[in-house]
Symmetry: C2
Subunit: 124 residues, 2 copies
DNA sequence: GAGGGAATGAAAACCGTTGTCGTTCTCATG
DNA sequence: CATGAGAACGACAACGGTTTTCATTCCCTC
């Protein structure tokens, strides 16, 4: 269902292409004048994640962070300071993960690969 | 400081080389007759992690899971069913992560790579 | 032994997240 | 435009893993 709040969350994610927590996104929406509850933000993010429209990442504190993403399998280079993200793909990693798991007798192989660094703006 | 409880946690980690949550480890210790508090298990795991003697992984629920590990940089193939783990290394991944991050202007590059699958025993 | 600093653990606090439930909104239909 | 049903909303409470608190106990040196 399309609602004012749902659209606001989606727009906010597009506006700021960085991994942010639900609470940060909520605060940002409130600051820009939107009236929306935290629960609703969580639910909107959940349904967007279910639809594969956003990627979810756990940060070191165990919080979930969200970012609007292109469809299809890809990985991220994430700035540990500002959360800015670049999508990358790497066939080399895919095949490596698959091979190394099969060599040890594992099936149904999946993998998670995230690259962290400090972006040029934050390092400057 | 060396105490009975600290040793028990360390022994338990060696006994069962799989990623398990603090609560699972605590329950296992209690079941085998040890008197130890949950808080102490958390603290023992924390200090072992600080000393790089155990690796920490967040599962999908956001829980931390712990496993005794060899020193040095390596990755894991983890069974999603029983937590059994194989340590692997892959120079290809290291260089790929480094290259792709630098290409986008990131410095101080780190990466996390985890491979999940179903081990031959659980699949059988 | 005695003393002091670290470790322990039961209970409370913490905090991100999810459930509850009465109210409000959206949208297809008349 | 009116309406009714089902979905979405949101304030609040509940949940659960983890951390903090603080009085007690333990380890180690002298």
């Amino acid at each position: 269902m399309t609602t004012r709040q749902r659209s606001a969350v989606r727009d906010e994610l597009v506006r700021e292409p960085a991994f942010r927590s639900a609470q940060e996104i909520h605060a940002s929406l409130r600051d820009t004048g939107h009236r929306i509850g935290l629960t609703t933000v969580y639910r909107a993010l959940q349904s967007l994640a279910d639809a594969d429209e956003v990627d979810v990442l756990r940060n070191d504190d165990g919080e979930s962070t969200y970012r609007a993403c292109s469809a299809g399998h890809h990985h991220h280079v994430v700035c540990r300071s500002c959360g800015t993200t670049v999508e990358v793909e790497g066939r080399a990693v895919e095949t490596w993960a698959d091979r190394v798991a099969r060599e040890h007798g594992f099936v149904d192989v999946e993998h998670t690969v995230e690259v962290f660094g400090t972006c040029i703006r934050c390092a400057g």
